[in-house]
Amino acid sequence: MISFSNNISSQFLNDRVLLWSLRFFALIAGSLLFLIVIFLIHEAWPALHQLGITSFFTDNAWYPTESLYLLTPMLWGTFLATIGAVILAAPIGILSAVFIHYYAPSLLAITYRRLIELLAGIPSVVFGLWGLVVLVPLIASWQPPGPSLLAGMLILFLMILPTITLVIHSSLAQIPIAYIHNATALGLGRWSMIRKVILPAAKSGIFTGIFLGVARALGETMAILMVCGNVVQAPSHLFDPIRTLTANIALEMAYALGNHRSTLFVSGLMLMAMVVIFVLIAEQLRYRETYADAN
């Protein structure tokens, strides 16, 4: 690999000016993350300091006007909606990717992939609009009130499905063709080849996709804000309205002051911590995903 990194100093002024300006830009880009963390902590500090972390879990309710800052209902909302969405999206995402690679005729495979890519690009507010106008009334006609945990799960499922499918798709594309030849030579049927050979081989890619899907679901705001009803409560069944952490921030940030505002930054920090953990796990798995050349 030829690169200028080997002998970085140059005799020429314009080269040195260039290098220093590139370093400067890189420093800005690289420090952004730290800047975000610092600002979040700075803004969250009053609440963390005056209320203490435990009060977010032990207060009686979420009544910011009366200085009660219980975050657990929102945490439940976020967890349940995410888990529901992932339980739906993971198997269907795997089946979709398998369909593209091993079941669909080539024209259909390309069309289906384009469709999934198109969906990956649709803004969350448009999903939210559809959910609000079509999905919520549909659920309401079955089990009122309509805006509910179920609506949130379904919307999130539609939103993370493209992410999961596309990541698994690209990991299936890397599986050496020899695996397939060998499996076929052993007389395995199509599905048993996929289940016994392909999916185990693509395991880390599948988990990368799922973790990225989880990260996206945790951080999703607009669609979930529009379909979940936003009632602060720990839901007791699928048809209860919920409020997630992200929706809470979006709803109250505009007018929050003092400890209330600070608490919203605390929930932002929690959210960021959770998402970053999942992204890091996914990245680790992605690095590990290499196949020995199977001749």
């Binding site: 030829i2 690169s3 200028f4 990194s5 140059s10 020429f12 080269d15 260039l18 290098l19 300006s21 590139l22 400067f24 830009f25 890189a26 880009a29 690289g30 420090s31 952004l32 730290f34 800047l35 975000i36 600002f39 979040l40 803004e43 269907i92 979709s96 398998v98 369909f99 079941y103 890519e117 198109l118 690009g121 649709i122 803004p123 507010v125 448009v126 609009l129 559809w130 106008v133 079509v134 076929t184 007389g187 049927g189 199509r190 080849m193 945790l218 951080g219 999703e220 705001t221 607009m222 804000l225 529009m226 992200t246 921030i249 940030m253 930054f265 960021m272 998402v275 992204v279 890091l280």
Partner: protein, 284 residues
């Protein structure tokens, strides 16, 4: 061809796969069809250029299109040089073992996963409050710039790394300085990839809502300067759907505009990327 074993398990799974794919396709066609069905009747030239009236129930999206393009403009003007500079630094001056480079790359990987609402919180704290820009187009654009930066850098760095080292060797052997090599040889060669990446970043910025609600604000008037609050297309959809009774028809029409913009953007990006891969194949 794969062998066709006719046992029941195979048949069941084939059925499962086809039916789940069919279900997904139906669901997505439903969303798109619903969008077109509800929004199409509202859509005309007048809608694109006139101001919203009666909280957006009537009138069009003229000022909102202007605000959106200003926000995106600020975002790209800020993100482009920083993204390009960082990408060149990472691709040309650092290798895998380079500590500073690894630190930056790692922090960008994490940044790429940060939820947009957190960017919104950060933008509100830094740009609106600490820097005193208030709810403004400038704050919104700067926040979006932070958000699209990781993606912009990743695609740009990849297109620089895709250039063969022969080009660098040949340029150096001709006695070109590093800056000449980078500006005159590598940058033009990386340009298509860079453009495709910027366009995708643009798409992500246009689709964004959560990061803008409390940075660029809600005001639907025609903005007079970058320090005015301005409402983006996506916020307009959200506001009409959630806060304005009877706003749905115009929300749908706006959604069609937004989705068509995004589809055009994505098609352009993949067209450029295709052009790039074909033009890079040398005749042998």
């Amino acid at each position: 061809m794969l062998t066709q074993t006719k046992d029941t398990e195979e048949r069941i799974w084939t059925l499962m796969i086809w039916s789940s794919v069919g279900l997904i396709s139906l669901g997505f066609l439903w969303i798109l069809g619903d969008l077109l069905w509800h929004g199409w009747t509202q859509l005309n030239w007048n809608f694109l250029f006139s101001s919203p009236k009666n909280s957006g129930r009537e009138g069009g999206i003229g000022p909102i299109l202007i605000s959106t393009s200003l926000i995106i403009g600020v975002c790209m003007i800020i993100a482009w040089p920083i993204g390009l500079g960082t990408a060149i630094f990472l691709a040309e001056y650092t290798q895998d073992h380079h500590r500073f480079g690894r630190l930056i790359r790692g922090s960008l990987d994490v940044l790429a996963g940060v939820p947009s609402i957190v960017f919104g919180l950060f933008g509100n704290a830094l740009f609106c409050q600490a820097l005193g820009l208030g709810f403004s187009i400038l704050s919104g654009g700067l926040t979006l710039a932070c958000m699209v930066l990781p993606m912009l850098i990743r695609t740009t760095e990849e297109s620089f790394r895709a250039i063969t080292s022969d080009q660098r060797l040949a340029a150096t052997a001709l006695g070109f300085s590093r800056s000449t090599t980078i500006w005159c040889i590598l940058l033009p060669a990386a340009m298509p990839g860079l453009l495709a990446g910027s366009i995708l970043g643009l798409g992500r910025a246009i689709a964004e809502t959560a990061a803008l609600i409390f940075t660029s604000g809600y005001v639907d008037r025609m903005p007079e300067s970058l320090l005015d609050s301005g409402r983006s297309l996506s916020i307009h959809i959200y506001d009409l759907a959630m806060n304005v009774a009877g706003g749905n028809p115009n929300a749908y029409a706006t959604a069609i505009v937004l989705v068509s913009l995004l589809i055009i953007i994505n098609l352009t990006a993949s067209w450029i990327a295709d052009q790039w891969t074909t033009s890079n194949q040398l005749p042998t």
